[in-house]
Amino acid sequence: MSPLLEVEDLHVEFRSRGSAVNAVNGLSYTLHEGETLAILGESGSGKSVSAQAVMGILDTPPAYVTKGSVRYRGTELLGLPERRRRAYRGANIAMIFQDALSALNPVHRVGDQIAEMLIVHRKMSRRDARARAVELMDRVRIPSAASRINDFPHQFSGGMRQRVMIAMALALEPDVLIADEPTTALDVTVQAQIMKLLSDLQDEMAMGLILITHDLGVVADVADRIALMYAGRVVEEADVEDLYARPAHPYAEGLLASVPRIDVRGRELTPIKGAPPNLAAIPSGCPFHPRCPRARDRCSREVPGLRLLRAGEGSPDRSGARSGALSPESHRSACHYAEEVSGGR
Protein backbone atom coordinates (compact mmCIF):
# COMPACT_ATOMS: atom_id res chain seq x y z
CA MET A 1 0.00 0.00 0.00
CA SER A 2 1.32 3.45 -0.86
CA PRO A 3 1.87 5.87 1.97
CA LEU A 4 -0.63 8.66 2.63
CA LEU A 5 1.50 11.46 1.32
CA GLU A 6 4.88 11.36 -0.36
CA VAL A 7 6.81 14.47 -1.22
CA GLU A 8 9.89 13.90 -3.32
CA ASP A 9 12.61 16.28 -4.42
CA LEU A 10 10.27 19.28 -4.32
CA HIS A 11 11.68 22.54 -5.68
CA VAL A 12 9.90 25.89 -5.38
CA GLU A 13 11.27 29.07 -6.84
CA PHE A 14 10.15 32.69 -6.47
CA ARG A 15 10.76 34.65 -9.64
CA SER A 16 10.88 38.39 -9.99
CA ARG A 17 12.37 40.48 -12.75
CA GLY A 18 14.94 37.99 -13.90
CA SER A 19 16.15 36.94 -10.47
CA ALA A 20 15.06 33.81 -8.69
CA VAL A 21 14.92 32.92 -5.01
CA ASN A 22 15.07 29.22 -4.22
CA ALA A 23 12.67 28.78 -1.33
CA VAL A 24 12.49 24.98 -1.45
CA ASN A 25 15.41 22.93 -2.79
CA GLY A 26 14.71 19.25 -3.05
CA LEU A 27 12.42 18.62 -0.11
CA SER A 28 11.41 15.03 0.51
CA TYR A 29 9.29 13.47 3.21
CA THR A 30 6.73 10.74 3.69
CA LEU A 31 3.63 10.85 5.85
CA HIS A 32 1.93 7.67 6.98
CA GLU A 33 -1.59 7.15 8.21
CA GLY A 34 -2.18 8.33 11.74
CA GLU A 35 1.30 9.78 11.93
CA THR A 36 2.25 13.26 13.10
CA LEU A 37 5.15 14.67 11.19
CA ALA A 38 6.59 17.91 12.46
CA ILE A 39 8.30 20.10 9.92
CA LEU A 40 10.62 22.18 11.98
CA GLY A 41 12.64 25.12 10.79
CA GLU A 42 13.37 28.79 11.27
CA SER A 43 11.72 31.60 9.32
CA GLY A 44 12.60 31.41 5.66
CA SER A 45 13.55 27.74 5.75
CA GLY A 46 10.74 26.99 3.31
CA LYS A 47 8.33 25.17 5.61
CA SER A 48 5.22 27.20 4.80
CA VAL A 49 6.05 27.50 1.12
CA SER A 50 6.49 23.75 0.78
CA ALA A 51 3.15 23.18 2.54
CA GLN A 52 1.44 25.57 0.16
CA ALA A 53 3.05 23.76 -2.75
CA VAL A 54 1.65 20.47 -1.46
CA MET A 55 -1.80 22.06 -1.16
CA GLY A 56 -1.43 23.67 -4.56
CA ILE A 57 -2.21 27.13 -3.24
CA LEU A 58 1.04 28.89 -4.05
CA ASP A 59 0.68 32.36 -5.51
CA THR A 60 1.79 31.85 -9.09
CA PRO A 61 3.36 34.20 -10.05
CA PRO A 62 5.74 34.77 -8.27
CA ALA A 63 6.12 31.22 -6.90
CA TYR A 64 6.63 28.24 -9.21
CA VAL A 65 7.07 24.55 -8.47
CA THR A 66 10.00 23.76 -10.76
CA LYS A 67 10.62 20.13 -9.97
CA GLY A 68 9.53 17.26 -7.82
CA SER A 69 6.58 15.11 -7.00
CA VAL A 70 3.70 15.17 -4.50
CA ARG A 71 1.77 11.91 -4.30
CA TYR A 72 -1.43 11.39 -2.34
CA ARG A 73 -2.05 7.64 -1.88
CA GLY A 74 0.04 7.08 -4.97
CA THR A 75 -1.70 9.69 -7.15
CA GLU A 76 0.58 12.38 -8.50
CA LEU A 77 -0.92 15.78 -7.64
CA LEU A 78 1.55 18.09 -9.34
CA GLY A 79 0.60 18.68 -12.93
CA LEU A 80 -3.03 17.71 -12.40
CA PRO A 81 -5.42 20.09 -14.13
CA GLU A 82 -6.75 22.70 -11.71
CA ARG A 83 -10.30 21.29 -11.74
CA ARG A 84 -9.15 17.84 -10.62
CA ARG A 85 -6.62 19.23 -8.19
CA ARG A 86 -9.34 21.29 -6.55
CA ALA A 87 -11.28 18.16 -5.65
CA TYR A 88 -8.43 17.03 -3.38
CA ARG A 89 -8.16 20.37 -1.63
CA GLY A 90 -10.15 20.39 1.56
CA ALA A 91 -11.61 16.95 0.88
CA ASN A 92 -8.43 14.84 1.14
CA ILE A 93 -5.81 17.30 2.22
CA ALA A 94 -6.88 20.23 4.37
CA MET A 95 -4.90 23.05 5.86
CA ILE A 96 -5.15 25.40 8.81
CA PHE A 97 -3.22 28.62 9.06
CA GLN A 98 -1.31 30.59 11.60
CA ASP A 99 -3.50 33.62 12.17
CA ALA A 100 -7.15 32.60 12.22
CA LEU A 101 -8.34 36.20 12.40
CA SER A 102 -6.94 37.05 9.00
CA ALA A 103 -7.41 33.56 7.60
CA LEU A 104 -11.17 33.57 8.16
CA ASN A 105 -13.24 35.81 5.94
CA PRO A 106 -14.34 38.80 8.05
CA VAL A 107 -17.63 39.32 6.21
CA HIS A 108 -19.12 35.84 6.42
CA ARG A 109 -20.68 34.14 9.44
CA VAL A 110 -18.53 31.31 10.81
CA GLY A 111 -21.33 28.81 10.31
CA ASP A 112 -21.54 29.68 6.64
CA GLN A 113 -17.79 29.45 6.22
CA ILE A 114 -17.79 25.94 7.63
CA ALA A 115 -20.95 24.96 5.74
CA GLU A 116 -19.46 26.20 2.46
CA MET A 117 -17.11 23.19 2.42
CA LEU A 118 -20.06 20.80 2.51
CA ILE A 119 -22.18 22.80 0.09
CA VAL A 120 -19.43 23.00 -2.52
CA HIS A 121 -17.84 19.54 -2.20
CA ARG A 122 -20.78 17.42 -1.04
CA LYS A 123 -23.59 19.37 -2.75
CA MET A 124 -25.44 19.50 0.57
CA SER A 125 -28.34 21.89 1.04
CA ARG A 126 -27.55 25.02 3.02
CA ARG A 127 -29.82 23.87 5.82
CA ASP A 128 -28.16 20.45 6.23
CA ALA A 129 -24.71 21.93 5.88
CA ARG A 130 -25.36 24.44 8.64
CA ALA A 131 -26.70 21.71 10.90
CA ARG A 132 -23.50 19.77 10.23
CA ALA A 133 -21.49 22.93 10.94
CA VAL A 134 -22.97 23.04 14.43
CA GLU A 135 -21.89 19.43 15.00
CA LEU A 136 -18.41 20.25 13.81
CA MET A 137 -18.21 23.28 16.09
CA ASP A 138 -19.30 21.03 18.95
CA ARG A 139 -16.64 18.56 17.99
CA VAL A 140 -13.87 21.17 18.26
CA ARG A 141 -15.37 22.07 21.64
CA ILE A 142 -16.73 25.52 20.95
CA PRO A 143 -19.14 26.14 23.84
CA SER A 144 -22.82 26.61 22.88
CA ALA A 145 -22.02 26.11 19.23
CA ALA A 146 -25.63 26.33 18.06
CA SER A 147 -25.97 29.90 19.28
CA ARG A 148 -22.65 31.02 17.87
CA ILE A 149 -23.09 29.77 14.34
CA ASN A 150 -24.28 33.18 13.16
CA ASP A 151 -21.42 35.10 14.74
CA PHE A 152 -18.65 36.67 12.72
CA PRO A 153 -14.97 35.78 13.20
CA HIS A 154 -14.17 39.06 14.98
CA GLN A 155 -16.66 38.14 17.70
CA PHE A 156 -14.57 35.13 18.74
CA SER A 157 -11.44 34.97 20.90
CA GLY A 158 -8.16 33.90 19.31
CA GLY A 159 -8.38 30.32 20.53
CA MET A 160 -12.04 29.95 19.50
CA ARG A 161 -11.24 31.34 16.07
CA GLN A 162 -8.55 28.72 15.60
CA ARG A 163 -11.12 26.11 16.61
CA VAL A 164 -13.44 27.44 13.91
CA MET A 165 -10.56 27.08 11.43
CA ILE A 166 -10.05 23.49 12.55
CA ALA A 167 -13.78 22.71 12.32
CA MET A 168 -13.75 24.07 8.78
CA ALA A 169 -10.68 22.05 7.80
CA LEU A 170 -12.15 18.85 9.23
CA ALA A 171 -15.60 19.31 7.65
CA LEU A 172 -14.88 16.78 4.91
CA GLU A 173 -12.88 14.43 7.14
CA PRO A 174 -9.60 14.74 5.25
CA ASP A 175 -6.85 12.12 5.59
CA VAL A 176 -4.13 14.70 5.76
CA LEU A 177 -4.23 17.86 7.81
CA ILE A 178 -1.49 20.41 7.34
CA ALA A 179 -1.28 22.78 10.29
CA ASP A 180 0.90 25.79 9.46
CA GLU A 181 2.04 27.20 12.80
CA PRO A 182 -1.44 26.73 14.28
CA THR A 183 -0.56 28.07 17.69
CA THR A 184 2.01 30.78 16.99
CA ALA A 185 -0.50 33.62 17.31
CA LEU A 186 -1.98 32.33 20.57
CA ASP A 187 -1.32 32.60 24.30
CA VAL A 188 0.69 29.78 25.82
CA THR A 189 -2.27 28.29 27.71
CA VAL A 190 -4.49 28.44 24.65
CA GLN A 191 -1.65 26.93 22.60
CA ALA A 192 -1.69 23.87 24.80
CA GLN A 193 -5.48 23.50 24.44
CA ILE A 194 -5.32 23.76 20.66
CA MET A 195 -2.48 21.24 20.41
CA LYS A 196 -4.42 18.86 22.69
CA LEU A 197 -7.50 19.28 20.52
CA LEU A 198 -5.54 18.62 17.34
CA SER A 199 -3.96 15.49 18.68
CA ASP A 200 -7.30 14.21 20.07
CA LEU A 201 -9.01 14.80 16.76
CA GLN A 202 -6.16 13.15 14.94
CA ASP A 203 -6.62 10.01 17.03
CA GLU A 204 -10.40 10.03 16.55
CA MET A 205 -10.22 10.49 12.81
CA ALA A 206 -6.96 8.61 12.15
CA MET A 207 -5.55 11.45 10.10
CA GLY A 208 -2.01 12.11 9.08
CA LEU A 209 -0.96 15.42 10.56
CA ILE A 210 1.78 17.65 9.25
CA LEU A 211 2.66 20.17 11.89
CA ILE A 212 4.70 23.09 10.68
CA THR A 213 6.34 24.94 13.49
CA HIS A 214 9.47 26.58 14.80
CA ASP A 215 8.61 25.69 18.38
CA LEU A 216 10.76 22.85 19.71
CA GLY A 217 8.50 22.45 22.73
CA VAL A 218 5.33 21.93 20.71
CA VAL A 219 7.12 19.32 18.61
CA ALA A 220 8.37 17.32 21.58
CA ASP A 221 4.82 16.97 22.94
CA VAL A 222 2.86 15.82 19.94
CA ALA A 223 5.02 14.77 17.01
CA ASP A 224 6.01 11.21 16.08
CA ARG A 225 8.66 12.23 13.62
CA ILE A 226 10.55 15.40 12.82
CA ALA A 227 11.80 16.71 9.52
CA LEU A 228 14.21 19.51 10.25
CA MET A 229 14.48 22.04 7.43
CA TYR A 230 17.29 24.38 6.58
CA ALA A 231 17.56 26.54 3.45
CA GLY A 232 14.70 24.80 1.73
CA ARG A 233 15.64 21.17 2.28
CA VAL A 234 15.44 18.55 5.00
CA VAL A 235 18.74 18.27 6.86
CA GLU A 236 17.65 15.69 9.38
CA GLU A 237 14.70 13.39 9.69
CA ALA A 238 14.11 11.13 12.66
CA ASP A 239 11.86 9.90 15.37
CA VAL A 240 11.25 12.66 17.93
CA GLU A 241 12.98 11.01 20.87
CA ASP A 242 15.81 9.84 18.68
CA LEU A 243 16.43 13.29 17.27
CA TYR A 244 16.30 14.97 20.67
CA ALA A 245 18.57 12.34 22.19
CA ARG A 246 21.02 11.85 19.35
CA PRO A 247 20.93 14.69 16.83
CA ALA A 248 22.90 13.75 13.73
CA HIS A 249 23.23 17.14 12.11
CA PRO A 250 25.18 20.08 13.53
CA TYR A 251 22.15 22.33 12.94
CA ALA A 252 19.91 20.12 15.09
CA GLU A 253 22.68 19.96 17.64
CA GLY A 254 22.91 23.74 17.67
CA LEU A 255 19.15 24.17 17.97
CA LEU A 256 18.92 21.82 20.94
CA ALA A 257 21.85 23.51 22.63
CA SER A 258 20.15 26.90 22.25
CA VAL A 259 17.02 25.87 24.16
CA PRO A 260 16.96 27.40 27.64
CA ARG A 261 16.86 24.67 30.29
CA ILE A 262 14.91 24.92 33.48
CA ASP A 263 17.17 22.47 35.30
CA VAL A 264 20.39 24.34 34.65
CA ARG A 265 20.44 27.74 36.30
CA GLY A 266 22.59 30.70 35.47
CA ARG A 267 23.76 29.22 32.19
CA GLU A 268 24.18 31.58 29.25
CA LEU A 269 22.13 30.72 26.19
CA THR A 270 24.12 29.19 23.35
CA PRO A 271 22.97 30.65 20.07
CA ILE A 272 23.81 29.34 16.62
CA LYS A 273 26.27 31.83 15.19
CA GLY A 274 25.53 33.76 12.04
CA ALA A 275 22.27 34.38 10.19
CA PRO A 276 20.02 32.19 8.05
CA PRO A 277 21.24 32.01 4.45
CA ASN A 278 20.13 34.40 1.75
CA LEU A 279 17.93 32.19 -0.41
CA ALA A 280 18.94 34.06 -3.55
CA ALA A 281 22.56 33.02 -2.93
CA ILE A 282 22.63 29.78 -0.98
CA PRO A 283 26.19 28.87 0.07
CA SER A 284 27.95 26.23 -2.01
CA GLY A 285 28.25 22.72 -0.66
CA CYS A 286 26.39 22.21 2.58
CA PRO A 287 24.21 25.33 3.06
CA PHE A 288 24.89 25.25 6.79
CA HIS A 289 28.70 25.22 6.52
CA PRO A 290 29.30 28.98 7.14
CA ARG A 291 27.60 28.62 10.54
CA CYS A 292 28.77 25.12 11.37
CA PRO A 293 31.31 24.63 14.16
CA ARG A 294 32.30 21.28 12.64
CA ALA A 295 32.75 22.52 9.06
CA ARG A 296 35.76 21.34 7.05
CA ASP A 297 36.98 21.92 3.51
CA ARG A 298 34.77 19.26 2.03
CA CYS A 299 31.63 20.94 3.43
CA SER A 300 31.96 24.00 1.21
CA ARG A 301 32.50 21.88 -1.91
CA GLU A 302 30.18 18.88 -1.76
CA VAL A 303 26.44 19.07 -1.20
CA PRO A 304 25.62 16.37 1.35
CA GLY A 305 22.62 14.23 0.46
CA LEU A 306 20.04 13.03 2.98
CA ARG A 307 21.26 9.56 3.87
CA LEU A 308 20.12 6.79 6.14
CA LEU A 309 22.01 6.43 9.42
CA ARG A 310 19.92 3.90 11.24
CA ALA A 311 16.96 1.94 10.04
CA GLY A 312 14.16 1.94 12.57
CA GLU A 313 13.24 -1.00 14.71
CA GLY A 314 9.69 0.21 15.31
CA SER A 315 9.69 2.13 18.55
CA PRO A 316 6.35 2.99 20.17
CA ASP A 317 4.65 6.09 18.77
CA ARG A 318 2.90 8.79 20.75
CA SER A 319 -0.30 6.78 21.24
CA GLY A 320 1.69 3.90 22.68
CA ALA A 321 0.89 1.50 19.88
CA ARG A 322 3.77 -0.10 18.07
CA SER A 323 3.66 1.29 14.59
CA GLY A 324 6.83 -0.12 13.17
CA ALA A 325 5.05 -1.55 10.18
CA LEU A 326 3.57 1.77 9.26
CA SER A 327 6.37 4.11 10.01
CA PRO A 328 9.95 3.37 9.14
CA GLU A 329 11.57 4.61 12.31
CA SER A 330 14.73 5.49 10.53
CA HIS A 331 17.15 8.29 11.15
CA ARG A 332 18.41 10.31 8.20
CA SER A 333 20.85 13.17 8.12
CA ALA A 334 22.30 15.42 5.45
CA CYS A 335 25.73 15.86 6.97
CA HIS A 336 29.02 14.46 5.68
CA TYR A 337 30.02 13.76 9.26
CA ALA A 338 26.67 12.66 10.70
CA GLU A 339 28.13 9.65 12.50
CA GLU A 340 30.64 11.86 14.23
CA VAL A 341 27.91 14.30 15.32
CA SER A 342 25.56 11.68 16.69
CA GLY A 343 28.39 9.61 18.12
CA GLY A 344 29.55 12.56 20.17
CA ARG A 345 26.64 12.16 22.54
Partner: protein
Protein backbone atom coordinates in the same frame (compact mmCIF):
# COMPACT_ATOMS: atom_id res chain seq x y z
CA UNK B 1 -26.56 65.79 9.73
CA UNK B 2 -28.58 68.67 11.12
CA UNK B 3 -25.58 70.89 11.94
CA UNK B 4 -24.16 70.21 8.48
CA UNK B 5 -27.47 71.19 6.89
CA UNK B 6 -27.73 74.43 8.88
CA UNK B 7 -24.09 75.28 8.24
CA UNK B 8 -24.25 74.76 4.50
CA UNK B 9 -27.54 76.58 3.97
CA UNK B 10 -26.29 79.53 6.01
CA UNK B 11 -23.10 79.63 3.98
CA UNK B 12 -24.95 79.54 0.66
CA UNK B 13 -27.45 82.10 1.92
CA UNK B 14 -24.73 84.52 2.98
CA UNK B 15 -22.80 83.98 -0.24
CA UNK B 16 -25.78 84.75 -2.44
CA UNK B 17 -26.78 87.85 -0.53
CA UNK B 18 -23.23 89.10 -0.38
CA UNK B 19 -23.25 89.30 -4.18
CA UNK B 20 -22.95 92.88 -5.38
CA UNK B 21 -26.03 94.44 -6.91
CA UNK B 22 -29.64 94.70 -5.87
CA UNK B 23 -31.98 91.91 -6.92
CA UNK B 24 -35.02 94.18 -6.93
CA UNK B 25 -33.32 96.65 -9.25
CA UNK B 26 -32.30 93.78 -11.53
CA UNK B 27 -35.92 92.69 -11.54
CA UNK B 28 -36.94 96.12 -12.78
CA UNK B 29 -34.53 95.87 -15.67
CA UNK B 30 -33.67 99.12 -17.41
CA UNK B 31 -36.83 100.94 -16.43
CA UNK B 32 -36.79 103.16 -13.35
CA UNK B 33 -38.92 101.78 -10.53
CA UNK B 34 -41.19 103.98 -8.41
CA UNK B 35 -39.82 104.18 -4.82
CA UNK B 36 -43.11 102.92 -3.35
CA UNK B 37 -43.07 99.78 -5.54
CA UNK B 38 -39.41 99.27 -4.73
CA UNK B 39 -40.09 99.47 -0.99
CA UNK B 40 -43.11 97.17 -1.28
CA UNK B 41 -41.10 94.55 -3.14
CA UNK B 42 -38.24 94.79 -0.66
CA UNK B 43 -40.73 94.26 2.13
CA UNK B 44 -42.43 91.40 0.30
CA UNK B 45 -39.13 89.52 0.01
CA UNK B 46 -38.14 90.53 3.56
CA UNK B 47 -35.07 92.27 2.16
CA UNK B 48 -35.58 95.21 4.54
CA UNK B 49 -34.90 93.06 7.56
CA UNK B 50 -31.48 92.12 8.97
CA UNK B 51 -29.81 89.19 7.18
CA UNK B 52 -29.94 86.88 10.19
CA UNK B 53 -33.68 87.37 10.56
CA UNK B 54 -34.12 86.69 6.86
CA UNK B 55 -32.16 83.48 7.25
CA UNK B 56 -34.17 82.48 10.28
CA UNK B 57 -37.40 82.97 8.37
CA UNK B 58 -36.02 81.02 5.44
CA UNK B 59 -34.98 78.10 7.63
CA UNK B 60 -38.37 78.12 9.34
CA UNK B 61 -40.04 77.93 5.96
CA UNK B 62 -37.70 75.16 4.88
CA UNK B 63 -38.68 73.07 7.88
CA UNK B 64 -42.29 73.35 6.71
CA UNK B 65 -41.35 72.32 3.19
CA UNK B 66 -41.54 75.90 1.90
CA UNK B 67 -38.62 76.75 -0.34
CA UNK B 68 -39.79 80.34 -0.77
CA UNK B 69 -40.67 82.24 -3.90
CA UNK B 70 -38.63 83.18 -6.95
CA UNK B 71 -38.32 86.79 -7.99
CA UNK B 72 -40.90 86.04 -10.68
CA UNK B 73 -43.40 85.23 -7.97
CA UNK B 74 -43.42 81.47 -8.61
CA UNK B 75 -42.89 79.09 -5.68
CA UNK B 76 -39.30 77.76 -5.85
CA UNK B 77 -40.58 74.25 -5.21
CA UNK B 78 -42.65 74.39 -8.44
CA UNK B 79 -39.66 75.48 -10.46
CA UNK B 80 -37.58 72.75 -8.95
CA UNK B 81 -40.14 70.02 -9.40
CA UNK B 82 -39.98 70.04 -13.21
CA UNK B 83 -36.26 70.71 -13.52
CA UNK B 84 -35.37 68.42 -10.69
CA UNK B 85 -36.80 65.41 -12.48
CA UNK B 86 -34.61 66.07 -15.52
CA UNK B 87 -31.44 66.44 -13.48
CA UNK B 88 -32.23 63.45 -11.28
CA UNK B 89 -32.77 61.28 -14.36
CA UNK B 90 -29.51 62.46 -15.87
CA UNK B 91 -27.54 61.92 -12.66
CA UNK B 92 -29.05 58.49 -12.02
CA UNK B 93 -28.34 57.41 -15.61
CA UNK B 94 -24.72 58.47 -15.19
CA UNK B 95 -24.56 56.81 -11.80
CA UNK B 96 -25.92 53.45 -12.95
CA UNK B 97 -23.57 53.56 -15.92
CA UNK B 98 -20.47 54.17 -13.80
CA UNK B 99 -21.57 51.61 -11.21
CA UNK B 100 -22.15 48.75 -13.64
CA UNK B 101 -19.44 49.44 -16.21
CA UNK B 102 -16.93 50.83 -13.69
CA UNK B 103 -17.08 47.89 -11.32
CA UNK B 104 -17.25 45.49 -14.27
CA UNK B 105 -14.11 46.90 -15.86
CA UNK B 106 -12.36 47.02 -12.49
CA UNK B 107 -13.07 43.35 -11.80
CA UNK B 108 -12.08 42.34 -15.30
CA UNK B 109 -8.78 44.19 -14.99
CA UNK B 110 -8.09 43.16 -11.40
CA UNK B 111 -8.52 39.45 -12.02
CA UNK B 112 -5.17 39.28 -13.74
CA UNK B 113 -2.85 42.02 -12.60
CA UNK B 114 -0.46 43.09 -15.32
CA UNK B 115 -2.40 41.26 -18.03
CA UNK B 116 -3.61 42.68 -21.35
CA UNK B 117 -7.02 43.68 -20.01
CA UNK B 118 -5.43 45.31 -16.98
CA UNK B 119 -3.06 47.38 -19.09
CA UNK B 120 -5.86 48.42 -21.46
CA UNK B 121 -8.16 49.46 -18.64
CA UNK B 122 -5.43 51.38 -16.84
CA UNK B 123 -4.37 53.34 -19.91
CA UNK B 124 -7.95 53.85 -21.09
CA UNK B 125 -9.09 55.25 -17.77
CA UNK B 126 -6.08 57.57 -17.60
CA UNK B 127 -7.07 58.94 -20.98
CA UNK B 128 -10.69 59.51 -19.92
CA UNK B 129 -9.62 61.25 -16.71
CA UNK B 130 -7.25 63.50 -18.66
CA UNK B 131 -9.82 64.74 -21.20
CA UNK B 132 -11.94 67.71 -20.03
CA UNK B 133 -15.60 66.78 -19.79
CA UNK B 134 -16.84 69.38 -22.31
CA UNK B 135 -14.42 68.08 -24.97
CA UNK B 136 -15.76 64.60 -24.34
CA UNK B 137 -19.33 65.91 -24.48
CA UNK B 138 -18.96 67.72 -27.80
CA UNK B 139 -17.02 64.81 -29.34
CA UNK B 140 -19.66 62.31 -28.24
CA UNK B 141 -22.41 64.56 -29.53
CA UNK B 142 -20.70 64.89 -32.88
CA UNK B 143 -19.74 61.23 -33.27
CA UNK B 144 -22.65 59.28 -31.78
CA UNK B 145 -25.33 61.93 -32.20
CA UNK B 146 -24.65 63.41 -35.64
CA UNK B 147 -22.32 61.09 -37.59
CA UNK B 148 -23.63 57.74 -36.41
CA UNK B 149 -27.07 58.88 -35.35
CA UNK B 150 -27.26 56.35 -32.50
CA UNK B 151 -28.50 58.81 -29.90
CA UNK B 152 -30.48 62.06 -29.98
CA UNK B 153 -28.05 65.00 -29.91
CA UNK B 154 -30.02 67.24 -27.59
CA UNK B 155 -33.26 67.74 -25.69
CA UNK B 156 -35.50 65.32 -23.82
CA UNK B 157 -38.04 64.55 -26.55
CA UNK B 158 -37.36 60.82 -26.50
CA UNK B 159 -37.82 60.54 -22.74
CA UNK B 160 -35.91 58.40 -20.27
CA UNK B 161 -33.70 56.53 -20.83
CA UNK B 162 -33.00 57.11 -24.51
CA UNK B 163 -32.55 60.90 -24.41
CA UNK B 164 -30.45 60.64 -21.29
CA UNK B 165 -28.08 57.89 -22.39
CA UNK B 166 -25.45 59.93 -24.19
CA UNK B 167 -25.33 62.83 -21.71
CA UNK B 168 -25.41 60.31 -18.87
CA UNK B 169 -22.46 58.37 -20.24
CA UNK B 170 -20.44 61.54 -20.77
CA UNK B 171 -21.32 62.81 -17.29
CA UNK B 172 -20.37 59.53 -15.66
CA UNK B 173 -17.22 58.85 -17.67
CA UNK B 174 -14.68 60.49 -15.37
CA UNK B 175 -16.13 58.87 -12.25
CA UNK B 176 -16.33 55.58 -14.13
CA UNK B 177 -12.60 55.75 -14.69
CA UNK B 178 -12.00 56.34 -10.98
CA UNK B 179 -14.35 53.52 -9.99
CA UNK B 180 -12.72 51.06 -12.39
CA UNK B 181 -9.28 51.91 -10.98
CA UNK B 182 -10.49 51.81 -7.38
CA UNK B 183 -12.18 48.43 -7.86
CA UNK B 184 -9.13 47.03 -9.63
CA UNK B 185 -6.66 48.19 -6.97
CA UNK B 186 -8.85 47.05 -4.11
CA UNK B 187 -9.33 43.65 -5.73
CA UNK B 188 -5.63 43.14 -6.43
CA UNK B 189 -4.87 44.01 -2.82
CA UNK B 190 -7.51 41.66 -1.44
CA UNK B 191 -6.34 38.77 -3.60
CA UNK B 192 -3.25 38.72 -1.41
CA UNK B 193 -5.30 38.48 1.79
CA UNK B 194 -5.02 35.43 4.02
CA UNK B 195 -8.71 34.62 3.83
CA UNK B 196 -8.50 34.39 0.05
CA UNK B 197 -5.73 31.83 0.44
CA UNK B 198 -7.99 29.97 2.88
CA UNK B 199 -10.81 30.04 0.33
CA UNK B 200 -8.49 28.53 -2.29
CA UNK B 201 -7.35 25.92 0.23
CA UNK B 202 -11.00 24.98 0.77
CA UNK B 203 -11.06 23.76 -2.80
CA UNK B 204 -13.46 26.42 -4.07
CA UNK B 205 -13.65 27.37 -7.73
CA UNK B 206 -11.88 30.46 -8.98
CA UNK B 207 -15.20 32.12 -9.60
CA UNK B 208 -16.50 31.43 -6.10
CA UNK B 209 -13.28 32.70 -4.55
CA UNK B 210 -13.62 35.90 -6.56
CA UNK B 211 -17.31 36.57 -6.06
CA UNK B 212 -17.96 35.35 -2.53
CA UNK B 213 -14.63 35.89 -0.84
CA UNK B 214 -12.78 38.70 -2.57
CA UNK B 215 -15.22 41.05 -4.25
CA UNK B 216 -17.36 41.86 -1.26
CA UNK B 217 -14.37 42.86 0.82
CA UNK B 218 -13.05 44.94 -2.06
CA UNK B 219 -16.22 46.95 -2.54
CA UNK B 220 -16.11 49.03 0.65
CA UNK B 221 -13.98 51.88 -0.81
CA UNK B 222 -15.91 51.69 -4.09
CA UNK B 223 -19.26 52.11 -2.34
CA UNK B 224 -17.89 55.13 -0.46
CA UNK B 225 -16.91 56.75 -3.71
CA UNK B 226 -20.21 55.88 -5.40
CA UNK B 227 -22.22 57.40 -2.55
CA UNK B 228 -20.33 60.66 -2.51
CA UNK B 229 -20.36 60.74 -6.29
CA UNK B 230 -24.15 60.71 -6.61
CA UNK B 231 -24.12 64.16 -4.99
CA UNK B 232 -21.24 65.34 -7.14
CA UNK B 233 -23.02 64.17 -10.30
CA UNK B 234 -26.05 66.30 -9.45
CA UNK B 235 -23.82 69.31 -9.05
CA UNK B 236 -21.79 68.41 -12.12
CA UNK B 237 -24.75 68.52 -14.48
CA UNK B 238 -24.49 72.27 -15.23
CA UNK B 239 -22.02 71.84 -18.11
CA UNK B 240 -23.65 68.72 -19.51
CA UNK B 241 -27.18 70.15 -19.35
CA UNK B 242 -25.93 73.18 -21.22
CA UNK B 243 -24.27 71.17 -23.98
CA UNK B 244 -27.10 68.68 -24.43
CA UNK B 245 -29.78 71.31 -23.91
CA UNK B 246 -31.55 69.54 -21.06
CA UNK B 247 -33.92 71.73 -19.02
CA UNK B 248 -32.56 70.70 -15.62
CA UNK B 249 -31.54 72.22 -12.34
CA UNK B 250 -28.09 73.07 -13.65
CA UNK B 251 -29.43 75.52 -16.24
CA UNK B 252 -31.86 76.92 -13.67
CA UNK B 253 -29.23 77.62 -11.05
CA UNK B 254 -26.99 79.20 -13.69
CA UNK B 255 -29.68 81.71 -14.70
CA UNK B 256 -30.65 82.30 -11.09
CA UNK B 257 -27.11 83.28 -10.15
CA UNK B 258 -26.97 85.70 -13.07
CA UNK B 259 -30.16 87.53 -12.08
CA UNK B 260 -29.30 87.24 -8.33
CA UNK B 261 -32.44 85.24 -7.66
CA UNK B 262 -31.52 84.36 -4.07
CA UNK B 263 -34.38 82.04 -3.12
CA UNK B 264 -33.89 79.87 -6.23
CA UNK B 265 -30.14 79.56 -5.76
CA UNK B 266 -30.42 78.72 -2.10
CA UNK B 267 -33.33 76.37 -2.72
CA UNK B 268 -31.54 74.34 -5.37
CA UNK B 269 -28.27 74.33 -3.48
CA UNK B 270 -30.04 73.20 -0.31
CA UNK B 271 -31.67 70.36 -2.14
CA UNK B 272 -28.29 69.32 -3.53
CA UNK B 273 -26.88 69.33 -0.02
CA UNK B 274 -29.79 67.20 1.15
CA UNK B 275 -29.19 64.66 -1.63
CA UNK B 276 -25.52 64.60 -0.76
CA UNK B 277 -26.20 64.04 2.93
CA UNK B 278 -28.76 61.37 2.18
CA UNK B 279 -26.34 59.54 -0.12
CA UNK B 280 -23.75 59.59 2.65
CA UNK B 281 -26.25 58.19 5.11
CA UNK B 282 -27.03 55.34 2.75
CA UNK B 283 -23.29 54.67 2.36
CA UNK B 284 -22.88 54.52 6.12
CA UNK B 285 -25.67 51.97 6.37
CA UNK B 286 -24.24 49.97 3.46
CA UNK B 287 -20.87 49.75 5.22
CA UNK B 288 -22.49 47.72 7.95
CA UNK B 289 -24.12 45.42 5.41
CA UNK B 290 -20.86 44.85 3.53
CA UNK B 291 -18.57 44.53 6.52
CA UNK B 292 -19.99 43.33 9.84
CA UNK B 293 -16.99 44.73 11.68
CA UNK B 294 -18.25 48.27 11.07
CA UNK B 295 -21.82 47.48 12.05
CA UNK B 296 -23.30 50.03 14.42
CA UNK B 297 -24.76 48.61 17.56
Amino acid sequence: MVPVLIGTTLLIYLAVFALPGDPIRTLGGDKPMPPAVYQALRHHYHLDEPLIVQYGQYLWGLLHGDFGETLNGQPVSDVMKTDWAVTARLAVTAWIFELVVGIGLGVWAGRRKGGVVDTLVLSGTTLVIAIPVFVLAYSAQLLFGLKLGWFPTAGTDDGWPYSYLLPGIVLGSASLAYIARLTRTSLVENFRADYVRTAVAKGLSRRRVLVRHTLRNSLVPVITYLGVDLGSLMAGTIVIEGIFNLPGIGGQIFTAIQIKDGPTVVGIATLLVLVYLFANLVVDILYGVLDPRIRYE
